[in-house]
Symmetry: D2
Subunit: 263 residues, 4 copies
């Protein structure tokens, strides 16, 4: 499976501003970057640092006025998928230390509040079977509505509203998993088939000693996504974070599967 990604962003900044971008497909074993190119124009500073958990890169820029970012990449995804429904969970006591942060509450995932709900509704299931049931429950109960949430919307809001976009589906699933003592993180990805085309977000759960992608929206296939970065929730993998006032002028994301000859 090979996917082709084309992204164009235009933002404007009132004053000289520090900006963090995280929009490049990560160079990690499960996905091979056949080619990738990013152009940010003339900026004052430019630097590259490792993303959260060392997955993907964050770019730091400093600029004022108009910022135009063009990114294109071709990524061959070779992810081995497992049926998560059969995977065991590790007891918290057996988790590696670096997974523990993904059990804790974060900005958009106040997981502690969901402990009784998961116990009441999914307490008879364990590990991957529980994750699969929670994913299916969200998919059944929720409706995907573009524009129905905003940057302050948390998993609490989404759980009540039963509407949202990919970030909201993911925040709810992540919260339900953490409330079940199953580590879960937020993954920003590129995926074909997302309607309308945009940056996409899915969950990743730690089962059987490894991380596994889960898309509660059902819009994308876990084997066809290119990961950009991971974090505790959307706050960690925002595609653009500005340390000052900014205005979005335009933004386009195009992701497509390319022909079988390219596989």
């Amino acid at each position: 499976m090979t996917i082709e990604i084309t992204v164009a962003l235009e933002y404007s900044f009132e004053q000289s501003t520090d900006i963090m971008l995280q929009i490049e497909a990560a160079a990690i074993p499960e996905q091979y970057l056949e080619r990738a190119h990013i152009d940010v124009g003339n900026v004052e500073h430019f630097a590259r640092t490792a993303g959260h958990d060392m997955i993907g890169d964050r770019l730091w820029l400093r600029t004022s006025g108009l910022l135009r970012v063009d990114y294109t990449a071709r990524v061959r995804v070779e992810r081995i998928l497992t049926d998560i429904g059969t995977l065991p969970m590790l007891r918290p006591a057996n988790l590696p230390g670096e997974a523990v942060q993904y059990l804790l509450d974060s900005t958009y995932c106040p997981a502690t509040e969901f402990q009784y709900f998961v116990q009441a509704e999914f307490g008879h299931l364990e590990g991957g079977a529980r994750v699969a049931a929670m994913r299916d429950w969200i998919a059944e109960k929720f409706t995907y509505v573009a524009g129905s949430s905003g940057p302050q919307t948390t998993a609490l809001d989404s759980f009540v509203m039963r509407r949202g976009v990919c970030r909201d589906y993911t925040h709810v699933l992540v919260s339900l998993c953490r409330a079940s003592t199953i580590p879960a993180r937020f993954v920003s990805v590129y995926a074909p088939g997302v309607e309308p085309q945009d940056f996409h977000a899915v969950a990743e759960v730690f089962l059987g000693g490894e991380w596994h992608l889960v898309d509660a929206t059902g819009m994308a296939k876990e084997g066809e996504m290119a990961k950009v970065g991971v974090g505790r929730d959307a706050a960690d993998v925002s595609f653009l974070t500005a340390y000052g006032p900014c205005a979005m002028l335009s933004q386009s994301v195009d992701v497509r599967t390319i022909g079988s000859d390219a596989r």
Copy 2:
């Protein structure tokens, strides 16, 4: 400077529950554990994992009914202090990747919302001078009132209320620093002189390429604290996190400086 720590906790759990404790002074170069002992009684599981950023340990237990935890330690603190007011900040583009998480919003520190405030009030200062001014501003404007905040209180609430306890002072200072593109994290510590005696919390800011402790409450001296753990905010270094219903029965913390012969 040597400090002696004595902690006793009693909690009760309705059912068999996974519990994470983070109450031990960390074994790190700047503080030497002359002795330390923890007793958690008979529990089903017991495991030790590394804390956030590999500082300190988290203990995982599983138990039901009464949990009694006794912890005692003697810690020799040999921290080299610097006048933070003179320290330069690194441009975000020059930060090490692992410090970037400490620029981002977290549960109790919605730092983005503070960008205009810091620019308006402290925009004429840079780096350590700005951190010192923000620390002094908090110390001047805020009143320490035991019981004036709760587990849902965020830096927004505290900023408006101008009252709080150590966690609240720290959340506000951390938020102001992050809004200034200065990485800041939350540190749980033991410190003599805290009134009433309790777990204490302070900020740590990344200036001149290193982390520096800052206590906005002014209750404790940065050179006399024993660090327990670090995190993005209080959610990461809670001394006890339970994955199920629990009730606190009693809790005592005693921290004292021991005689000059021990220094």
Copy 3:
């Protein structure tokens, strides 16, 4: 049904502070005050104003130092109860103007967010039948746990946590009703049988052109409650509101049914 109420409150105030009390059983047709006495000691000011929707009174005091309030009353309740399950709702267009405020969002009842949930789960029911089903759903799913919520807890939190005390049950039921375009308000009451004994809170819904009490906790009988006041949520009928720092020293509430000879 006659009930006897005995309340004692002790609070302390750092400085001269305006205080609003709302703890007296209301003098309204459905309940007759056989006797009532309130003693607030020596205070600077004392005045009585009508409560929200002209139900009950609010007392304004101004004092500093210790405030001791003693209230006793004997109330004969003669409320005519109806089976709400059979009552029709009025279309919003037919509501009296003064009921409309009880359709709108309020501090603890962000009802708008619940619109999709009520439509999905209770959309097949109308009016009183829907209210009864929602009350039963809360009674089945929620667990009453003293101390499980705090003053910042909203209906969103409670809906997710499925735990709470009377105020939380009421906030959730009120929110679900408003999201169904059924006006619903918060009523503070005295009721025998509440465990632990305390101020109690229930919902009141507007069906068939009249207000009807509904206790989602099931702890008290709608025919045996003495109303104190009504409002949009708990913020409107707090038994004590202080415009300055205060500390609660003690508080006791005793409500009991008195013998058949008194009926």
Copy 4:
């Protein structure tokens, strides 16, 4: 002063939905409706009820598909203005009962949290002098930025962000007044000079026994506004409230002063 108002709204509704509109200039003594016309097209129901505090009207409609609302009015405003800076406040004990609701916390105005701030910064001022100082403080510290807030933004957020639109300025001023035991309500108005042209919102404070308009944004003159309705905050006077999913298609508001011959 005579103003001419022209409003056009287009919304679409997936299903038959109850809708409340509050967009008409109120018929009250201080403003005379020379003419007014509203057209909502063919709808299933249509009814008119009194607004909050009996000021203005709320219209209830029920419709599905496209809703197009056209409203035009000519309003002669004859409001007697007073310099609020010299007005005394009433002690809470002397307030009329119906003003007390405007001292309490509401959805967007968590006034209690601001008590210490107003005491610290404005405690040396009383009544109208304090209101004027708080209005000027907001005007000095805040920047009006269209699009900088959203429907979930509260006075806490705005106070920290120091940016917002008219609703945010008003929520902050209302909160500061309530925290000072000065009743304050939210007023939706039409006003010439608002840039960009839109529905406008200002505060109204209860001083000297009467309500007085205060525009913290400084964009409009208190003597040139036509009031639409009042409430505890924006939640009470939303120009359109829908009890079901809806999408805004277009919206235009035009308010202008008409020639001296019309005065």
